[in-house]
């Protein structure tokens, strides 16, 4: 009788299932590693673009115009209220209202610091100069910056604006 029960295939399968169930891991923790990975990436992405100076008193507010334009890569020059910045490096501090401080080295309308910083970046053909200007900056400053870029060898430029279309 006991031999018959031992050889019963249904009982053998049941015993095998019970043994397997005892061996299965019983981890009570939620697997959040992938979620943490994802959040780490998002956080790193957001922190790399976060600029606390732009939150309270932004020094670069682009004008909003109904413009469409094909995007092109180029050298990024920013004319902020407080500085002229080339690829994140301050070339020339401004007076905070978009005016050029007296005593700035210049030759006519050409700002020496801007021209000298742009000159080594000229290649053949000259790359496009992407100019992002704060909307309150007077044209006198932009004219000086463009004249300096012209003297350095940049003749084509593109203004970056906020599109309302």
């Amino acid at each position: 009788m006991s031999d018959v029960r031992r050889d019963d295939p249904r009982l053998r399968r049941q015993r095998r299932r019970e043994r397997a169930a005892r061996r299965l891991p019983t981890n009570p923790y939620l697997q959040i590693t992938s979620m943490t990975d994802m959040f780490t990436l998002i956080l790193a992405f957001l922190l790399s673009f976060y600029d606390p100076a732009q939150v309270d008193a932004p020094s670069l507010v682009l004008p909003s115009v109904a413009a469409l334009g094909g995007e092109k890569e180029g050298i990024k020059l920013e004319v902020r209220k407080d500085a002229v910045v080339l690829d994140g490096v301050v070339l020339l501090p401004l007076d905070g209202k978009g005016g050029i401080e007296s005593g700035t080295e210049r030759s006519g309308r050409i700002l020496t610091a801007v021209r000298d910083a742009l000159q080594p970046r000229v290649a053949d053909p000259a790359p496009t100069l992407l100019v992002a200007c704060d909307k309150t900056v007077p044209f006198s400053v932009i004219g000086d910056v463009l004249s300096s870029a012209n003297a350095a060898g940049f003749h084509d430029y593109r203004f970056v604006v906020e599109s309302t279309r």
Binding site: L24, A67, R165
Partner: protein, 164 residues
């Protein structure tokens, strides 16, 4: 096939819950402070300054009839290139970026395009005190005219004049 047998429980690993909790607070805070913008680029060229002899008054008068231009100053716009138009478009109130008469400028530019159908260039000459906001809007108006949901090209190659 998933291997169900032989899985080993290594016990509790690094406790990531506090880290995740910090991130769940930081990510929405940063997302709220982010301002998403649709950016566009407007191409322009700087004026070429030549060392040639300046033209006489007659040649300048002839040139001013041919060259399409918009001068921006503290009183409004001054249109060049058309004999039939009143060249002065004053501001609607004390001149500020929002009080320049962009609608009248748009009409004038359409009329100029009718006079110069093959012309693609326009000279934009802003005064020194004019804020960039006004210059950008004039450039956008000069590039294309949007009416009835359709955009028509006007003067897509603006030249910015910088006074010496």
């Amino acid at each position: 096939m998933v291997r169900r047998y032989g899985m080993v429980d290594n016990g509790p690993g690094l406790d990531l819950v506090p880290m995740l909790s910090v991130m769940v607070h930081l990510v929405p805070m940063l997302l709220l402070s982010v301002r998403f913008l649709a950016l566009a680029q407007m191409a322009a060229r700087g004026p070429v300054i030549s060392a040639l002899e300046p033209p006489d008054a007659g040649a300048l008068a002839e040139q001013s009839k041919r060259v399409v231009s918009v001068e921006i100053d503290g009183k409004g716009f001054l249109i060049g290139g058309s004999a039939g138009l009143d060249p002065r478009i004053p501001c609607t109130a004390a001149c500020a970026p929002d009080t320049y008469d962009y609608a009248a400028l748009d009409n004038a530019l359409r009329s100029l395009k009718a006079d110069h159908p093959d012309e693609k260039r326009i000279v934009i000459a802003p005064g020194d005190d004019v804020p960039f906001d006004v210059v950008a809007r004039v450039m956008a108006e000069a590039r294309s005219d949007v009416s009835g949901g359709k955009a028509r090209e006007l003067f897509p190659e603006p030249l910015l004049a910088v006074r010496q």
